[in-house]
Amino acid sequence: MTNPTGNHDTISIALIGKGGGGVLTAGEMLLRASAYFGRYGMMIPAVGPQIRGGESAALLRLGESPVNCLDDTFDVLLAIDWQHAERFRADIPLDADSLVIFDPAAGSVPDFIVGTGARMHELEMKALGDTVTGGRPNMVALGFAAAIAGIPESAVLKATEKKIGRKGRDAVDASSECVRLGYAQVASGGAAAAIEPAAAANTNSDRWLTSGNHAAGLGALRGGIRFAAAYPITPATEVLEWLAPRLNDAGGTLVQAEDELASINMAIGASFGGIPSLTATSGPGLSLMIEGLGLAVSAEVPLVVINVMRCGPSTGIPTKPEQSDFNAAVYGLHGDAPHIVVAANSVTDCVYTTQWAVHLAEAMQVPVIVLSDQFMGQASAIVDPIPSINFLSKRKLAENIGASFERYALTADGISPMPLPGTPGGQYTADGLEHSTAAKPSGLADDHLAQLDKRARKIDAFDYGQHWADIDGDGEFAVLTWGSTTSAVREAIGRLPVDLANKIRLVSLRLLSPARPLQMADALNDVERVMVIEQNHTGQLYRFLRAWYELPADVQTMYQPGPSLFRPGQLASTLHDWCLQ
């Protein structure tokens, strides 16, 4: 497809306006219309902390092939008004090829926008909206943006029906009329000089529209989670809100707990009772849950904790992403507490990785932390349907129990059969105290060592198969990364000249801990140099790699904290230079 800037095969559109002004609604409808038209795409909502009256932006990127990250700049900025627009300065990079559409009634264009050299185009959104009873400027903006993006009016009207339908016929008609007015402004040549209409795409009605948080919920449900306890926290709440009614439909339940301390202990209690259990949170909540995680390690209770990362430490920047909870997730527990940390690397992968996490937790009777982040967690994306994977998520249960039964028996694989309450003869007390094989509290060195060995052995001896990492290519230069940064890295490699791209092998780690030195040695076979890329301030994965893995002598790093995302162009430039060193 073409777009105003002519680069790549996507179009990036930002809609901004005051909070409550319908910018996110318009953005969501534009994304949905794109899906109806057979496009891929994603939308990142950017909002201030205010519920009403703050600022909001919908950042969209639409394309003919799957879209997993934002582009370097925006092709189009459509401003309904300029209130607090400066807060989005870093989120919406513009250049001389960008097109800025604004309402002259909203005042003069801010200097920082003018300074980008972008082309300007006036659109009287408010005045046009006012010509329709019940009309609103955001719907005029939607029509105009959709026309620029080459999406047929019928797709937008279908999205309007879907989104506004529950508000009644009059509301749908008013919005539809505003959308048509927006289209008419483009058709009448209002912006024709600036925009070349995009080509038609093929409609594929099978695609899904989902966020990473909803995807993680689906993965949990598919994995067999039937109990969740959680405390609301940005940006993880959508996992819970998605799960709550669906757990009920599946014969499970979600309990809103009084705090994160309660959440994790409720989940541990439910899992002790035999129900696969989960909690979801973000950084500060994870910190509160750490003591509970240690209990689950000691008592050997399966548990999944989804941590949707945001900028930290402390309250940090709650609505922005960062990959900075690696250390907390891997090292946060006191004592020697073997547990599992996995990371999803795309919106789609949130399903797969979460489902895998349930499987790992249940199979090994261990807590598993799933790291997601605000970017993919709250992004809405048009993706191919996500098939279910048939993991055998079975807990090893003790059922016909004899007199010699021991709950924490030292088995070869470290996994001991677990009796569920109600099973005659299996009575034991799960404990955070160190214990003997018979689950009796013990302060003996022998018991401590035997149980430490057993708990370490079960997660070290486990066969994680090919799921531990996603590996693209077989070049002699390896890029190691994790989480949502993977998508930007993948796109950056794709932008390099073919001879350079072919030199690169991308290794995106899904299993962060425990380390897999043998698998990594295979993955890095014949690799001459390594580049580690991650979104945090201290190179948290890099330092873990240094501790656990044999790496070639030539290791370079590229890490930057949030809230700014890695842009593919920025990464492509770095990788280009790196390949030619």
Binding site: G251, Q427, T429, D431
Partner: protein, 277 residues
């Protein structure tokens, strides 16, 4: 409590072979006996009981019973018990612990467990002291009680757990004395049978750090009135009594928390279809 087929077992059938860590003369021995007798009187199968606790001397109790148990982390017994009961409504869930565990570090959970009114019985063995850490004031300690960490007394008013439980919505509130195992057994039977969240404060002396509590047996007396179903009346009584009235104070009729995991329900629709745009 949950409907279970009664069985004929003796109190000793509910005890494990693990020797308690408690000091000789500790009131908690009698609580263990009373709880076992209560289970036997109701006729509960040991494997259908889950005894859940946090940390402290009294929180060791699950290991001393021949039931399923969970000895969790400090202050979190109630959330742990909540998870067990919601996931397994077929079990009889007893949550047990001390005054530090339940009223200090776990105080917030007490409020919300009372509100939530899940069908569990919460037994607090109150000895007005942190015993396991060797004698520091707890939320129920008198302000002038001298200790190493608070010489001359902590200087703040004690907490009144029964009033808090009533105000927070507990469905059954009682006070017992460990030195009267038969009376305590009857109160526990009543508490376990009563639907919803039952809260039982058991005055359980710490003879090591609070030898003065040996006098409790002379101070306790049966409450002069019968249980009420009027929470405000109960609160008034307990706020004006001497702290040694023993018996069931309040029996409410609020419906227990109904959400639980039902194993027989299946998906009746295709979740995947919800992701179509």
């Amino acid at each position: 409590m949950s409907a279970q087929t009664p069985c004929k077992l003796k109190a000793s059938d509910y005890k494990s072979d693990t020797k308690p860590v408690w000091c000789p003369g500790c009131g908690d021995f009698h609580v263990l006996l009373s709880l076992s007798k209560a289970a036997a009187e109701i006729g509960l199968q040991p494997e259908k009981i889950a005894v859940i606790s946090g940390i402290g001397c009294s929180s060791r109790i699950p290991a001393y019973m021949n039931c399923y148990g969970f000895h969790g982390i400090h202050g979190r017994a109630l959330p742990l018990a909540t998870g067990v009961k919601v996931a397994r409504p077929d079990l009889t869930v007893i949550c047990a612990g001390g005054d530090g565990d339940g009223f200090s570090i776990g105080g917030n959970h007490l409020l919300h467990a009372c509100r939530r009114n899940i069908d569990i019985t919460y037994v607090v063995m109150d000895n007005e002291v942190y015993g396991m850490t060797k004698g520091q004031p707890s939320p129920t300690t008198a302000p002038d009680w001298d200790s190493k960490i608070a010489p001359g007394g902590i200087g703040i008013s004690p907490f009144y757990p029964l009033v808090i439980a009533l105000a927070s919505g507990a469905n059954f509130v009682a006070r017992a004395f460990s030195g009267d195992p038969n009376g305590t057994t009857q109160i526990l039977v009543d508490a376990i049978r009563h639907p919803g969240f039952s809260f039982v404060q058991i005055l359980s002396p710490c003879v090591t750090f609070r030898p003065d509590q040996r006098d409790w047996k002379k101070q306790v007396h049966a409450a002069p009135v019968k249980p009420t179903s009027d929470a405000s009346q109960a609160a008034r009584r307990v706020m004006t009594d001497d702290g040694f009235n023993i018996g069931v104070l309040y029996k409410g009729s609020r419906d227990p928390y109904q959400q639980h995991v039902g194993h027989d329900i299946r998906f009746d629709r295709d979740i995947d279809e919800e992701f179509l745009p």
